[in-house]
């Protein structure tokens, strides 16, 4: 019997960026500062700033990026409303998991560039207006 790990084919896993949001804290404060923890799946590729609001994701031209979010309390509603980033570098679009209304945002890095900062607008709870991040995360070429 032969057991071997799956060979890495031409298909590449997207770089997933997950925003963990303390929705209660952010709603109480009216801002995201100190209530947001950012992570990605490219730690081995050189991403830094894990668990902070200033995640620096190592991403090159052609890399597919996927953003989603997670509420720290599983009862709380948290959603990404928009990602504000230079559209010449990456154009995130909102998509949903087929057959559900659970959304994610995805985009492909169009060209290599220095650190490109971006901000995320979050919808939290029943608040009408989205809250935008104060500190920025970035894509680092």
């Amino acid at each position: 019997m032969t057991t071997k790990p799956r060979r890495e084919a031409a298909v590449k896993r997207p770089i997933s960026i997950t925003a963990v949001v303390d929705a209660v804290g952010a709603l109480a404060a009216g801002n995201m500062h100190g209530h947001l923890y950012m992570y990605d799946t490219n730690k081995s590729g050189g991403s830094t700033g894990f668990g902070t609001e200033e995640l620096q994701t190592k991403a090159r031209r052609g890399d597919q990026i996927l953003w989603n979010c997670l509420a720290l309390e599983c009862e709380a509603f948290v959603a990404i409303d928009d990602i504000i980033i230079d559209r010449d570098i990456c154009e995130p679009v909102r998509k949903v998991y087929p057959g559900t209304d659970v959304a994610y945002w995805t985009g492909t890095v169009k060209k290599d560039a220095g650190p490109i900062t971006y901000q995320i607008k979050f919808r939290l709870g029943t608040r009408d207006e989205p809250i935008t991040t104060t500190l920025s995360s970035s894509l680092v070429g």
């Binding site: 997933s16 992570y39 894990f50 997670l70």
Partner: protein, 269 residues
Amino acid sequence: MPQQLAIIVLVDVSNALASSTLEGNTYLFDNMKLHGSVNQGTGELVTAINGSYWRDGSQASEQVLNWLPYSLGSIPPTVPRGYEVERARQTDEDALAELQELAAKSTVPSADAEAELNRIRRNVGTRVKTTRRTRGRMSGQKIVDVMGQVVTEDATAAASYPAPVITDIYGEAVDSKIMYPAEYGSPDMVTDGWYWSATVDTSRPGTYSYMMRIQLHKLVQTNGELRWDPVNLTCASALKITSEPRRNAFTKAGVGQLPIPATRPGRDA
């Protein structure tokens, strides 16, 4: 009974499998930041548990903890339970419809029909083999990528990892009879129906460590068949139990005693 507390165990499954350790690949959260938990969002979380007491000094109640393991960079836990099964069924139905359409329009084999068949084969994805050992949670499911699309055998590098599973909680806090963990079943959609929970004795202040045994799954090919192989790793965390009175969230009266009258209203007045 005080509010139950949740501890989120977020695992970078891909990196943890590659480096065979949860250290540096696990991020822990609880919802007790305002009560003194420290190192939120890191692997060094210390969960603060404030004891609560009646005025005569007796213990008011114990604390209940729940653990929720999530996978970083997989399909999020907010999609419905059994989502992979639903996707497998839907893509089967789509492929069947496409095959019927193909059969109806072409009676002679042609290059076109072959190309069309290949396209359908791609869309229908690949199933994970079911063995007696793996029957249950992930058996017979198709491989789904992180965007919820089924993938074929040659594209499994993009597969979404199943959520980590806590299989045991043990260590100092359990040995010292500070906490009593157990696995419970529930119709909870988020945690696949099973979760670890513990009651904590808040009457003995101190910092107590505990260990979690966590099972990840690695996609392997055995004799040409794909299956999810379990990989067991461990991860440490800690509880800090204090006997300070609770802070009053309504009056924000600080950590001192609450303004309770010495005599009950209506008595001796």
